[in-house]
């Protein structure tokens, strides 16, 4: 059992008319242009789009790493706009999990310490049973005392996934988690994340440019020029590619 209060709503995260602008007048750039999207609980979501489409911006804003210019963003039933810096930090700690493309781990901490990091920061005792289960799921039991420099890229990403899962967040945000991995390690990570959604009802939102990665998701949202332009359910690599090609014309 985590210490977080279970949310009433069925959406783990939500953006409503989210816009993010940089610059003014002639030099104005609309990274996000009135994006509204729901991410339901217990589902594996993917966000795709060419570079400059705003997919990373959307992720950063929903995850509380950046602030919108206009619009609202919710994690569970917490409106991030109403929070100050400190509260935002708490939300990231207690309600969100992160997996980045690279540099996911603190070099001075061992794997197990990295996995327990968010809970340590909160000063909470980890749910050892749950943590053990997570570790088992990602097959890391024999690497727990190693430091990141002693782990391969694939192993490091597994630790990151374990960390994200360990604190039982409302939603896990993954930004190109397989970007730096070979195909075998990629498949491993994506399988684990799929498993987390299926077995533990974890909600995952993943940004990716890789159609194969996207095919692991339950639903793919396509962005272009800061707007949502398409969405498909139960994707396969072919259906995803088809949409990309269509958008490219």
């Amino acid at each position: 059992m985590t210490a977080t209060v279970p949310s009433i709503t069925t959406t783990a995260a939500r953006a409503v008319l989210a816009s993010k602008l940089y610059g003014k007048g002639d030099t104005e750039v609309r990274a996000l242009d009135g994006v509204s999207v729901d991410f339901d609980r217990g589902q594996y979501h993917a966000i795709m789009g060419p570079s400059g489409s705003g997919k990373s911006t959307l992720l950063h804003c929903i995850a509380g790493l950046d602030r919108l210019t206009t619009g609202d963003v919710w994690i569970g039933d917490i409106n991030l706009n109403t929070l100050n810096e400190k509260q935002l930090t708490r939300v990231r700690r207690d309600h969100i999990g992160f997996v980045f493309q690279s540099f996911n781990l603190i070099p001075t901490l061992t794997a197990i310490e990295n996995i327990r990091l968010p809970m340590s920061l909160a000063g909470r005792d980890p749910d050892d049973e749950w943590v053990d289960r997570v570790i088992e799921t990602v097959h890391l039991a024999d690497r727990l005392q190693h430091r990141p420099s002693e782990l391969s890229g694939g192993q490091q990403q597994r630790v990151a996934v374990a960390r994200a899962l360990a604190s039982r967040p409302d939603v896990i945000f993954a930004d190109e988690p397989t970007g730096n991995l070979d195909s075998k390690a990629s498949a491993e990570i994506l399988t684990f994340m799929r498993q987390a959604v299926d077995e533990f009802q974890q909600t995952i939102v993943m940004v990716t440019h890789d159609p194969i990665a996207a095919s692991y998701a339950d639903r793919v949202v396509f962005l272009a020029d800061g707007k949502i332009v398409d969405e498909i359910r139960d994707p396969t690599p072919d259906t995803v590619l088809a949409v990309i090609r269509r958008l490219g014309d």
């Binding site: 950063h60 790493l65 950046d66 810096e85 400190k86 930090t89 708490r90 990231r92 700690r93 207690d94 992160f98 980045f100 540099f103 996911n104 781990l105 603190i106 070099p107 001075t108 901490l109 310490e113 990091l117 968010p118 340590s120 920061l121 909160a122 000063g123 420099s149 960390r163």
Partner: protein, 857 residues
């Protein structure tokens, strides 16, 4: 390469500035010292030139004893009055006037507080010489020279301070009881109100002689003005030819001026060197800061270096670019430091003025050597410190441009331990040899050994840093959770850097620790010695420490008091014993057992009489002397005299009785009248008399002598301790700079390493570390480093203190006091310093924009 360097510097101005700060501080201290010393030197040169401007020659007594310590220890023999007529009759002499110098004379106000002189400058008197050339003082309008014996002329500075006008009656204190005089004149010294703030009272000649206790037939010297057309050398030679007395010498005015200038210059030279040592310590500490900064710069620019190498730059070109950067920093910092040093010296000059030194509004003297030395020091320190990082930069393999290679040199620790231990032990051995083996020039061996110990520990530093930091940081994870754990791990992750930062602080702290222990041991030893040697109830002193000497009349009057049982004055002066300059102590040998417990092991003090001497057992052993031996002693008044060793006692330099003892009778017989002054008078109550009665009686005796102070044993000990404490505080102040630089170094290193860890800090913030937690992490990291450096420093300081005290054991250091309380305070202060050092870096870490941080390359 210049362009790469220049662009690099400009794009990181803050980093550039922080690196430069430590060098600027060290250089400005050095430059300031040199400039200040040169300025003071020039000031005194001008002073003496002004005093002796009109003097063509001077006839004076010789210095009978070539001893160099203490007041009244190297007086000149007086000139016999008969010489005056002889000199006046010499060919080429236009004017010859007698002169008497009074070492101590001071105007006091109604409450007995002195007027004039200020904190530093002396207060003395002299006879009025009615000749413009010979007397550098000029009367202001409305003034007259002193005509009768109760008239005086005072300097304008003293007049201003006391609000004294011509016609006023004032009290003057000398070694004789206070006497009232009429001020008939106020005099200026050239354009100034006084001679560099000194208070000078001018009496008539007979009155001057009376105050000095001189016979009417004696003068201090005779000043001579030559006829026009006669050179100084000529008139000197003429006079020398005319005088047969071998106790008299003649100098030209120029020789006299130079002699005085050289004496001051000699003292200032020592002052200069001592300050320069502290400046060098500060610069030495700067080395670590620079080394660290450039190490971090190189680590950050690994990719850039690799790229340069990949596209064809040679290793030498890469090294050069780093060195060029260090040269640029060094030049900039040295120039700024030099200018700051001049400003510092100017500021100090103003401060000295405020203390009463009436320095003429002359210019600051900036000798070329000040520029050359400080500039060179700053530049060398910067470039040499950057050399190791520069070489490391060149070793970056070109392929590192493609990969994210973390270059951690984990090799070579065994080598390091071996060299470090060797140097440390070698240095310690050298120090012990210097202290216990008494070779010639022991101080140099001591210095080299001390430096070697410090360098050795620095070399071993990274190896030691890991376990020690782990221990220091042990409570952190328990007390502060993950934040504490991260702080400790951060301190451990780069032992080289942690060690370099910590050892910068270690250098300063080792010296602070050493001084603290030495002072505490001195205090304890002095207390022990006084307790052992003295059985007094009262001690009369002339002010603090050695202060102003007391008139012998005080001792005589106290001896006559019925309320006191035993009374003994204590006098000190120098003499040449078997060719060596030694310090003699004289006391009333009849009070041997009542006032003193000197551990007399052979003979008795009562047998000393006029021609006997007592030696401390250590002195006797050192010089192979036994009871009954005869010593050839040169005394000022009697010249070469034989004295017989008649007693041996426990004596050392820390007690009041030194290593050589004679009786008061002997002192009076062998020393000049003006040396018959007491520095202390010791007294014991007569049986049945209460302390209050005894004190009251003594106070009555002391009434005419406002500067005399009555203390009991405890008060006396406190005032001795206060003197030691004042000295220690001065040394602390001088070491303060080195410590400040080290603390800045901690801040600098932290700030740069935060910059280096931007991505990691961004990650921490992303997963939910609050700003406060981040700040706390940085703060604890700083504290660990600060405490590490301090502990290492205290260990070294303890070793230094212990070995020195042990070596001085027979010189009276009976007590070794490691001052644990003070050492603990030092450690706590270090922790606080760490917290302060972390303030800006922590703020910087907290201000990181999370998004930007995690996206950093």
């Amino acid at each position: 390469m210049w362009k790469v360097t220049w662009k690099g510097l400009l794009s990181h101005k803050l980093r550039f500035a922080l690196t430069a700060v430590s060098v600027v501080l060290g250089v400005s201290f050095m430059a300031g010292t040199l400039v200040l010393t040169a300025t003071i030197n020039a000031t005194f040169d001008d002073l003496f030139a002004g005093i002796y401007e009109g003097t063509d020659a001077q006839v004076r007594g010789i210095e009978p004893v070539d001893a160099q310590f203490g007041p009244g220890s190297a007086p000149r023999l007086p000139v016999d009055a008969s010489a005056l007529d002889v000199v006046r009759g010499v060919n080429g002499v236009a004017v010859a006037e007698p002169f008497v110098a009074i070492p101590y004379a001071q105007v006091v106000d109604g409450a007995g507080d002195p007027i004039g002189g200020g904190v530093g400058p002396p207060t003395f008197g002299q006879s009025w010489v009615d000749n413009e050339d010979l007397n550098p003082f000029q009367l202001v309008p409305g003034s007259e020279p002193p005509g009768v014996d109760d008239e005086i002329v005072i300097d304008k500075g003293t007049a201003k301070e006391g609000g004294i006008a011509v016609g006023d009656r004032v009290d003057v204190l000398s070694l004789l009881p206070t006497k009232q005089y009429t001020v008939v004149g106020i005099a200026k010294f050239g354009t100034q109100d006084s001679q560099l703030g000194a208070s000078v009272i001018q009496f008539t000649l007979p009155e001057s002689q009376r105050i000095n206790g001189m016979a009417a037939a004696d003068y201090s010297n005779i000043g001579v003005v030559a006829d026009s057309g006669v050179t100084q050398e000529q008139v000197r030679d003429n006079i020398a030819g005319a005088i047969a007395d071998t106790n008299v010498e003649v100098l030209t005015g120029k020789e006299l001026t130079e002699e005085n200038q050289n004496e001051v210059a000699g003292f200032l030279d020592i002052f200069n060197r001592v300050l320069l040592v502290f400046a060098l310590v500060a610069l030495f500490v700067s080395c670590f800061i620079i080394y660290n900064t450039f190490s971090i710069i190189v680590a950050q620019r690994t990719r850039e270096m690799a790229l340069l190498r990949a596209i064809g730059a040679s290793t030498r070109q890469v090294t050069t670019s780093i060195l060029l950067e260090s040269i640029a920093v060094g030049v900039f910092a040295s120039l700024v430091g030099f200018v700051a040093g001049i400003a510092l010296a100017a500021g100090l000059k103003v401060a000295l003025d405020a203390f009463g030194l009436d320095i003429p509004a002359g210019d600051i003297v900036v000798p070329p050597i000040a520029f050359v030395l400080s500039f060179a020091a700053g530049l060398i320190v910067t470039v040499v410190s950057a050399m190791i990082p520069a070489r490391r930069a060149s070793r970056v393999p070109p392929v590192a441009a493609m990969r994210d290679v973390a270059i951690e040199h984990r090799h070579g620790f065994g080598y390091r331990i071996a060299i470090g231990v060797f140097v440390t032990v070698g240095g310690a051995a050298l120090m012990l040899f210097a202290l216990f083996g008494s070779p010639g020039n022991a101080i140099y061996y001591l210095g080299v050994g001390a430096v070697a110990v410090i360098v050795g520990v620095i070399v071993v530093g990274p190896v030691v840093a890991v376990p020690v930091s782990r221990v220091i940081g042990w409570p952190l994870p328990r007390v502060r959770g993950i934040v504490g754990d991260l702080a400790r791990e951060n301190a451990l992750r780069n032992p080289r850097r942690t060690s370099a930062t910590a050892t910068a602080l270690m250098v300063g702290v080792s010296l602070v620790g050493f001084i603290t222990i030495l002072a505490a041991s001195t205090k304890a030893s002095v207390a022990d010695t006084l307790d052992a040697q003295l059985r007094t109830d009262f001690i009369v002193t002339g002010g603090s420490g050695f202060g102003v000497p007391l008139s012998p009349a005080i001792g005589d009057e106290m001896a006559a008091l019925p309320e006191l049982g035993a009374v003994s004055p204590l006098r000190f002066a120098g003499a040449a014993v078997d060719g060596r300059g030694e310090f003699m102590t004289a006391l009333n040998t009849e009070t041997e057992d009542e006032l003193f417990d000197l551990g007399v092991s052979r003979g008795t003090l009562g047998s000393l009489d006029v021609d006997g001497i007592a030696l401390s057992t250590s002195y006797a052993d050192d010089h192979d002397l036994l009871i009954g031996d005869t010593l050839d002693v040169v005394f000022p008044a009697t010249g070469l005299t034989s004295v017989q060793v008649r007693a041996l006692y426990q004596g050392n330099d820390l007690g009041l009785t030194g290593k050589l003892l004679i009786s008061i009778e002997s002192f009076d017989a062998h020393y000049l009248p003006e040396q018959r002054v007491d520095f202390f008078v010791l007294a014991r109550l007569a049986p049945g008399v209460t302390t209050e009665e005894g004190a009251a009686a003594i106070e009555r005796v002391l009434e005419p002598y406002p500067t005399a102070k009555l203390q009991n044993n405890a008060e006396f000990r406190e005032s001795q301790e206060a003197t030691i404490a004042a000295f220690v505080n001065l040394v602390y102040a001088l070491l303060f700079l080195a410590v400040i630089i080290a603390v800045i170094g901690i801040a600098n290193t932290l700030a740069l390493s935060i910059y280096e860890r931007t991505r990691e800090l961004g990650l921490l913030r992303a997963v939910g570390t609050t700003r406060r937690q981040l700040k706390s992490m940085v703060r604890w990291e700083a504290v660990i480093i600060a405490v590490l450096g301090t502990l290492l420093g205290l260990v070294i300081g303890f070793f230094f203190g212990w070995s020195v005290v042990l070596a001085l054991e027979e010189d009276g250091f009976s007590s070794f006091d490691p001052a644990p309380g003070q050492l603990v305070i030092i450690v706590i202060v270090a922790g606080i310093a760490g917290v302060l050092a972390a303030v800006f870096p922590a703020r910087r870490a907290a201000k990181l924009d999370v998004l930007k941080a995690i996206s950093t390359e």
